[in-house]
Subunit: 368 residues, 2 copies
């Protein structure tokens, strides 16, 4: 187990003691990967890292997968369960062997399946469960230098793939075909996983999360392209809105408003200011241009081992920014039935302000 | 909303009444797709279908995604929540508007995030939560004719991609390169999503779930290839073990044992017999050949909208088979440090026995 994983495990144990928790239970998840480097399929077969406040954690996993976790044995004890065993009963035995057979408070992976939580609640009726994000999110939302380098590289690869995509005409291709072409670029570039590519043309662009359709892209369309992929476990996430052929005056006005909103948010970033203030900085620009009701989502989300994670740039979130926090700056304007426009960069908080990790033009891109 | 979704929703409501449940809560999941055809990203933003025992269900989802679900409005009421609203509070209002502000028993998506379950438990302290699979699994595990046709087509596409892969030599390529080549075949064939491709060469094949590595495949290796992808929402899943160059006598013996175990399981399938009896039929063959301790996993898993779902072919599962159930028949033998061998078909229960949906040779395949 690499030394930084050992360090992170010790930090979680410190947090467990401070929060007066008896254990944290982590299923296969970004949290588990962050602490151990291990991931596998999320499935009906329980894999669970049991972390006590002191001493060695125990990883409970399927017997026939213990060969895949043998390299962790210097940091955690490994207990396998056979296909005919009840893994929840085995976890209960593990708690007893760790000296705490009847825990009072347990932190559980936020993304664990509800069915596992129900089984643990039934098996440990005296325990109160809380989300593990209370321990893990404060660690994960501040990136260290190694993480920032990986995130920068992921953004560079994403814009490189997008730049290649722009070398071919858009008109006449379907949204799905454009998405497949970008996906192929990403695979060639060496991303380990491509999860979501959105291509919203014309009126489809006004649905911010619509999956690519068979709609044929036409001259006169705005096309919102939102793309990202995973490099060494870390996500990229970028949006550019291109125009097929010459844009209308209204599209130009919308595009310019979104661009200024993105820049206003970046300019507002500095340590100590609240997340909601960054959302407000962008929203004010869009409201003043008269498009307030059409900016229908928060400004952005943290990014790292998940494409959406803390901190969220949204009204009501008073969390203060810290150096190393990394999130998206993605204002958008969506005119129902007509078009959408979004501009998204990944940005990070520095000691003195904000800096974009996404290095790609904000100019209006006109394609054929 | 297509008529079969309406029918399925009515069947769930019937089950709710029979089970004396007040609601079922479904997040973005295969269950939701099965009942409505709708899917989207699983994320920190709550999307929830609230199904009461009588009357119209309500879909609670992010405001800016309501445009994506407008086509469901003939079957369900749609309620959007703004980014600054609390969706759990909105769900509570929805329960009140459905005439049941203090439910006693709620079925929750098995795969919902634990953090959502914790929030619902806090917001509805009088409610007991149970896994929604108690309602959905009995429906989903028996496939109708349309589902069987899609599953058959998915298996046909998977073996077609594999057959193409065999036209190139294996020796000298890494496991990752072989996996990437098969992934590319699957994309060309039109699968909508490729999730897992395993390529376990030589000793790596003895870890049944190991992800492909940078190991260079060599002459003399057995290579376990486990592959599947998603077509119209339904999974394929197939394993073949090939040998690079002439196999040893021991590999031949292992291969032949696995082949006979697969066939013994298929021959044992008929309506009314238990799931565990199918596992036993295969296991007996492997035990009699002296490899019992090396068949370290259950025989198989149901397959449909998930790659692993009910029914599970495992000791202890006395569920009787029914026509239309569809699952994998995948015995394996894993000799630590040496090699693995697995043979996996998707099979279905007919009125009188069992039938393979996977149509590909069981003969030993020797590649260069």
């Amino acid at each position: 187990m690499e030394p930084w994983y050992q360090q992170r495990l010790r930090r979680v144990q410190q947090s467990l003691r401070e929060a007066d928790l008896d254990f944290v239970f982590l299923t296969i998840s970004p949290d588990l990967f962050y602490l151990t480097g291990y991931t596998s399929f999320v499935s009906e077969r329980l894999t669970l890292l049991v972390i006590p406040p002191e001493g060695r954690p125990t990883l409970v996993c399927p017997d026939f997968e213990t060969g895949m976790v043998a390299h962790l044995a210097d940091g955690v004890d490994i207990v396998g369960w056979a296909e005919t065993q009840d893994p929840v009963a085995l976890v209960r035995e593990t708690l007893a062997s760790l000296g705490c057979p009847s825990p009072r408070r347990i932190a559980m992976s936020d993304h664990a399946w509800a069915v596992f939580l129900l089984r643990f609640q039934a098996a440990l009726p005296a325990a109160q469960f809380v989300p593990a994000s209370c321990l893990l999110a404060p660690m994960r939302r501040v990136k260290d230098q190694d993480e920032l380098q990986i995130l920068k590289k992921a953004q560079d690869m994403a814009v490189e793939g997008f730049h290649q995509l722009l070398q071919q005409p858009f008109a006449g291709r379907t949204e799905k075909q454009v998405a497949a072409a970008l996906r192929h670029q990403f695979e060639v570039l060496g991303f380990e996983r491509v999860e979501v590519i959105l291509v919203g043309s014309g009126p489809n662009g006004a649905n911010p999360h619509l999956a690519p359709t068979d709609r044929v892209i036409q001259r006169g369309d705005a096309v919102v392209l939102d793309f990202g992929a995973v490099y060494r476990g870390y996500y990229s996430d970028c949006t550019r809105t291109v125009h097929v052929g010459p844009p209308s005056d209204e599209f130009r006005k919308v595009f310019e408003t979104v661009r200024r909103a993105n820049q206003a948010a970046l300019a507002a970033i500095r340590p100590g200011v609240s997340c909601e203030s960054i959302d407000r900085a962008a929203r004010r620009v869009i409201e003043e241009a008269g498009y307030g009701p059409f900016f229908t989502h928060r400004l952005g989300h943290g990014i790292g081992l998940e494409v959406h994670e803390e901190p969220y740039m949204v009204e009501g979130n008073q969390l203060p920014l810290e150096p190393g926090m990394t999130f998206t700056d993605e204002p958008g304007i969506y005119l129902p039935g007509r078009f959408g426009c979004r501009l998204e960069d990944v940005v990070t908080v520095t000691e003195s302000g904000g800096a974009a990790l996404t290095d790609y033009t904000h100019e209006l891109i006109v394609v054929d």
